[in-house]
Amino acid sequence: MTRRTLTFRKLQDRLAGACSQLAVLLAVAIMLWILASVCRRGLPAISATFLTEPSKPFGLPDNGIANALLGTLLITGGAALIAIPTALLGGIFLAEFHDWPRLTAAIRFAANVMMGMPSVIVGLFVYLVIVVPTGHFSGLAGSVALALIMLPVIMRTTEDMLLMVPNALREAALALGMTRARTTLHIVCKSARAGLLTGILLAISRVSGETAPLLFTALYADAWPTTYASAPTPNLPVLITEYATNSPFESMHQAGWGAALIAMTLILAVNIASRFLCRRKGQAA
């Protein structure tokens, strides 16, 4: 082994320490930079009409994003309705029933793989199985695509959270004569509910900014989202994409930044709220 002098080793240590401090600073600075530039460019666009009027083709006065905002809420809400019950049940199966270890391992593996699945592929898949057979783009198809992305995320966090519940609780409930179903739903899930909620909120905040799957499913329309199940439905991410890339006009870019600011605020709010929930639970335990 080569001999290294003490001075060299100390210097190397200092240098490495400085580099790792710099790395953290850089990452945090970039985060703040992105937030700041969205705020600086988005704030001037925001006004009462911007938030209450629907989007219109370029040139018409009183352009807004209200329809896209509503559409995003609808699509994400629909996705949550589809994904949450399924994912909770699936997570319960992984955590509570150990009769078929091979099957459980295979399902866990599939869920992990689905978690890393590019969202654009999920979009393609939903296009093939819903948009093509029904013959039209729709907000519902968008909901299904987002639900497919949420499903593995909630399932895995549910499993992790349920596994943290001490076994003594289960045994006590069963000893009192409760059925397995009742024990699981009323005792185990109830004592892990903060964790379950955190997982759900994180999944919602993750999918509500997804754009790629919506390009293949929900598309966009300059109208109120009244035809959620049967026609292209407006939504924020696709609106931002359209305004930023397909429009040469400065005012459209400005509206895009405004929409980006609204979307980012909502998503970060949900994300941070879920973290606080998780921390409060950690202190209580």
Binding site: A16, A23, A27, V113, I121, L151, G209
Partner: protein
């Protein structure tokens, strides 16, 4: 067993099996939909550079090369940064490490379309004005850049995958038994030597798992890349060249595609799916291996 229990159990089992079925359906459906292209072009699809909807010729080489290059650039930037940041965050006092860790995690919460917009309107002009003139003349940078292209896409991807890699690395570092670290300090190691020679070696499988998770994210990222890569279907001449990735090609061309072109896009999707599946399987293998090892302690 009471009847409600049986019902509950089968319901749970059904919900869980659904995800495995979905994964199979996904692979099957994409294979089925791309059959038209495989019959028409065969495996030459993978090696051909022509992408011409007018003459119905499709080759996947440019987007494949674009995907691999942007991912390589992103990993080259993000890996050392994530490693250094994770080292600092595990060693720092909690009062400092917790908020900074959360701040880095927030990078993962920002939607990709906002990264794309930021890249398009903030980063690309910056690259054109300051970074590209600086790098000109270096090998692989001998072209007039317009701010878009491989390098810009790689930088954006690096920022996007950094929080994922960093979070897993922090977990791995935090799980290293303190005895190992203390023994290293006891032998007179500096902090850096303890980190590089002991903790890195000990947690290498977990770190690799984290790296592969980041790799999978970078391969499949669509919107942010689509905004800044330029969407040019030809082989790149330099790091400043406009290019395309598999995912950006899908999102960009799908709306106006029909017939054989659509089939070609599905074939691209299948390629991306296979790539990501492989990467995920490797990642899961390493993460499981590192978890088992920690379990043995």
């Amino acid at each position: 067993m009471p009847r409600t229990d049986l019902l509950f159990r089968s319901l749970c089992g059904l919900a869980a099996t659904l995800i495995a079925l979905l994964l199979c359906c996904l692979c099957g459906q994409l294979l089925l939909s791309s059959l038209g292209l495989w019959r028409h072009t065969g495996l030459a699809f993978l090696a051909s550079c022509d992408w011409n909807p007018v003459t119905d010729q499709y080759g996947a080489l440019p987007p494949i090369v674009g995907t691999l290059l942007t991912t390589a650039i992103a990993m080259a930037i993000a890996l050392p940064l994530a490693f250094a940041a994770a080292l600092f965050l595990t060693d720092a006092p909690p009062a400092l490490a917790t908020p900074l860790g959360h701040a880095i995690d927030l990078l993962a919460a920002i939607p990709s379309v906002i990264y794309g917009m930021w890249g398009l309107f903030v980063l690309a002009p910056l690259m054109q004005r300051h970074v590209q003139p600086l790098l000109r003349g270096l090998p692989g940078c001998n072209e007039e850049g317009n701010g878009f292209g491989l390098l810009t896409a790689g930088v954006i991807l690096a920022i996007m995958i950094l929080p994922y890699i960093c979070a897993i690395m922090r977990d791995v570092f935090a799980m290293t038994p303190p005895m190992l670290r203390e023994a290293a300090y006891g032998l007179g190691c500096t902090r850096w030597e303890a980190s590089w020679d002991i903790i890195l070696r000990y947690g290498i499988r977990g770190l690799l798992g984290g790296a592969f998770i980041g790799l999978g994210r970078a391969l499949g990222e669509t919107m942010a890349v689509m905004f800044v890569i330029g969407n040019v279907m030809s082989l790149p001449k330099s790091l400043f060249s406009g290019s395309a990735t598999i995912a950006s090609t899908l999102a960009n061309n799908f709306a106006e595609a029909s017939g054989l072109q659509r089939s070609a896009l599905f074939a691209l999707g299948l390629l991306l799916l296979i790539l990501c599946l492989t990467i995920q399987i490797i990642a899961q293998y390493y993460l499981n291996a590192s978890r088992n090892r920690r379990g043995e302690q």
